[in-house]
Symmetry: C3
Subunit: 405 residues, 3 copies
Amino acid sequence: MRLCEKKYKTMNIKEKIVRLSQIKSKLYQKDFLLTWEKSEDDLKAILEIADLLKQLRDKNISPRVFDSGLAVSIFRDNSTRTRFSYASAANLLGLAVQDMDETKSQIAHGETVRETANMISFLADFIGIRDDMYLGEGNKYMREVADALDEGFEKKVLPSRPGIVNLQCDMDHPTQSMADLLHLKNTYGSLEALKGKKIVMSWAYSPSYGKPLSVPQGIIALMTRFGMNVELAHPEGYGLIPEIEELAKNNAKASGGSFKVSHSMEEAVKDADIVYPKSWAPYHIMQQRTELLKNTDSQGLKALELEALKNNFKFKNWEYTEEKKQLTKNADALYMHCLPADISGVSCNEGEVEAKVFEKYRIKTYHEAGYKPYIIAAMMFANKFEKPAEVLRSIFDKGLKRVSF
Amino acid sequence: MRLCEKKYKTMNIKEKIVRLSQIKSKLYQKDFLLTWEKSEDDLKAILEIADLLKQLRDKNISPRVFDSGLAVSIFRDNSTRTRFSYASAANLLGLAVQDMDETKSQIAHGETVRETANMISFLADFIGIRDDMYLGEGNKYMREVADALDEGFEKKVLPSRPGIVNLQCDMDHPTQSMADLLHLKNTYGSLEALKGKKIVMSWAYSPSYGKPLSVPQGIIALMTRFGMNVELAHPEGYGLIPEIEELAKNNAKASGGSFKVSHSMEEAVKDADIVYPKSWAPYHIMQQRTELLKNTDSQGLKALELEALKNNFKFKNWEYTEEKKQLTKNADALYMHCLPADISGVSCNEGEVEAKVFEKYRIKTYHEAGYKPYIIAAMMFANKFEKPAEVLRSIFDKGLKRVSF
Amino acid sequence: MRLCEKKYKTMNIKEKIVRLSQIKSKLYQKDFLLTWEKSEDDLKAILEIADLLKQLRDKNISPRVFDSGLAVSIFRDNSTRTRFSYASAANLLGLAVQDMDETKSQIAHGETVRETANMISFLADFIGIRDDMYLGEGNKYMREVADALDEGFEKKVLPSRPGIVNLQCDMDHPTQSMADLLHLKNTYGSLEALKGKKIVMSWAYSPSYGKPLSVPQGIIALMTRFGMNVELAHPEGYGLIPEIEELAKNNAKASGGSFKVSHSMEEAVKDADIVYPKSWAPYHIMQQRTELLKNTDSQGLKALELEALKNNFKFKNWEYTEEKKQLTKNADALYMHCLPADISGVSCNEGEVEAKVFEKYRIKTYHEAGYKPYIIAAMMFANKFEKPAEVLRSIFDKGLKRVSF
């Protein structure tokens, strides 16, 4: 813990609410689909609200602003962590989670999406969506839902326009990257303190295949907004969606940071302040996979998986080891992961990270994950209230206990 | 929107509560299983309460009357719309939904039903049941549950007698037909205004098979209560449960309306005010299907499906088209559907309704569907409170905000 | 109903709260994993709190102490009764249930458990766990979760330490046995009145196989704490975990009761006050089964099942019949069961109990089951509040209505 963090920690809740009230965010009644559609002020406001909600709850003050209402969840891929984060956020604010089960594996589009979006929303305040299986599909699907809700609200089908929270798509994983950013902010004391820090988003070896691109894409697109020196390291051929790499480059230029792509984990981690070693499938493989999945070509899928795993196998040395850690700043770069990590000798034979290294930072990765429920709650809060600072002040003044002691 | 509707809309909430207090309904502590077991006053009370609950929520007033309590749901068939409607209703009043999963496909009866009904009800206020797969079984099952709850309450096993809400059975689909009726009432301004209006419940072609009879049965049994001229149109051999057709006839006689069965969609829709084109399986096919399902005769089921689809195929011209719409009153009969509809060229190649016609009334079908959560909430409300008008007045006076702004 | 019960029943809520405040329990912030880890005062406090919560709710007073919070459930085996009891308890106190689905059949241990336990607990107040499939595993798993939560709380990952409630493991089924004890207490009027009463926990024939040992183990370990004469009757070779039989023996010695194992249902039930006839798999079979399950040896499992069923078949005469009932105290021993029972001629051809006998005590078994939600709520309550009597007094004085009439 550094000095600046201490100062922030001692800042009291009322002071933080004042600071929040000075941020000019435009989150009211807006979906949260991609961090790069949001201004720096928007992102700062989310971080501040998340922090305040966490502190209120820690002080046993209930920020329950809904007396009733549904938070719908649509998980088109398995999830434990994000599911619990979403449920926790909804519950904290007073909403009940209602799952929308899509047992059918086909990608519903068009009329079905338009109709269903309205049918589940008559008394809903939010819809959280995870759809990360198909490149070019997940975010598009969210926008189809959004358009349907716009129409439903405009035509008075819906009494209010439910907000959409992107719980991971093919392009971004904003609840993860924002939780990661809050973790960094609290670790270093402020967003200011992140300027000039070197963060390495590195591909790492994993015995499994087809991991989505949204985490590395979310990280390079977000961290370049705050003047960090972001390095994306991966073996040749393991690139991300080119447009998002381009975006990261432009972000860095604008924020006074830098963005660089390189092809050696060893080189990349040198003098790094932060290292985020995580596996993903190459962009071109994901493209092929999407086509095969669309055509339900199970043989093609098997062949592609074999090929991809064989290719991964060549890069087993992309493991974040103690030896590599020694090359980082003070041999102690902050290790980050969205969890679960593939830990060599623990969750797999050979994986993303050496057990000893993971263990050293394990509790810190738990703290990192612990911000996600509050980030989601903050996204909901900022969507629902035009002046979130005022609502938070009123919650604080009222001081309703979460648990009646 | 007609004049009378405008008048109703301008009537304020307090006036509506007074009007409700004058209706002599007997819904207190009664299950809602079939609309034809309820008096006209009962049905009117449900409509008024539903409307009031909707208005209160639209004004950000929370009608949460339960501080805790469970609303159990038993879905013996898939459902999205009704599931969300039930969850929304329960949540609006303050209850948590608890699903009872019956993964076993057999029809549980007797001892198991008697015991389970009690085991899930110790702290339950309502049980919502969908059971529409087997002719002669669904409604019977609900009554078995009801008897078990009666015994449990009488023998002090249960602190209160949970109310049962029929979420669709083999005979009726009261939450749907009552939502449809509220839609008509609000479209035409009053129940009075429905007198003499011609509504056509018409079979329509669908490429799928085995759709339940409960919607058309519910519609003919309910709409004949209010002086409407109800015409049931279907190809020869596609009749409904004969007793329910008989019931509709008697209802019409008593209410000053009419009930007629005919066999041409084209003829039927002439001068119709309202058209409800929807597919269903013929009664005699459903009877055979029930026998085969009971005997788990999968080969027999396949054969029956083929036969039924082949038969349906002969009636492809039972599609509600622009051409047929031109025959209706002012070429603009109100189109109704419980959704999802089989829309030709959209959700299937050839189906119940032409895309252009559906699109014209699409948003109106969304409004129609939007009443269901409030109808269910009204059924719960009327079951729980002897004097619902008084409770609503107290809710209105208190004015607790649903969302704290 | 006996005299002493009447006296207890007329004791008012305030007097009972005073009585509770005099019990020196140490349940605050402690998991409830095994009854034999708890003092007699702990157990008494749970019974009193459960009774008080039930009475408050029966008087339409809401004991909602949480304004928000999650009660996580982990069911590694199917459950309807306990699932609903847990949901009811959580809801009564103001918590939302969030299910943790473990679709994978393998036994997760080590790192995965440690991490997941924290990931689901950021805003959780309780975790209820059922894990009764594997001898030597269920309770061990709960302790792994407990250790992980301890670490998470200590390292400030978790804002509070969620309490764990054992919803059935390989060793004990404390929410069942405590509900059974409360049933006995209320039937006979007091715990004092149980002294010297003879209770027979008897194996009974069932056509199914692999029923867990936790119920009989829980019963013999708990009822021996209160001076009862406990007899465990089973065919040779159907013993329980030896350490738990040993424990029961020691408990009986300490409490002034007795513990005896015998091998004839007929002999055992003679002069019994209470009879609990229930099937279970022999300890040594469960041990073999665990090994086979671990090795996913499906052929071995089938062979074992056949052998076990064949063996059961030899003991069909272990049915609790009217004839055997005639041998009990006044031919009217209280019949108990955790439900569902295998009732001869009703739920199976030949089973644990004759239909006529079951029917006579059926409603009493419903009452027995009805205590479970309150026992679970009491376990949560006692874990969360250092001085439960004070919190209950404040709830009673406030008198917030559960349903607003």
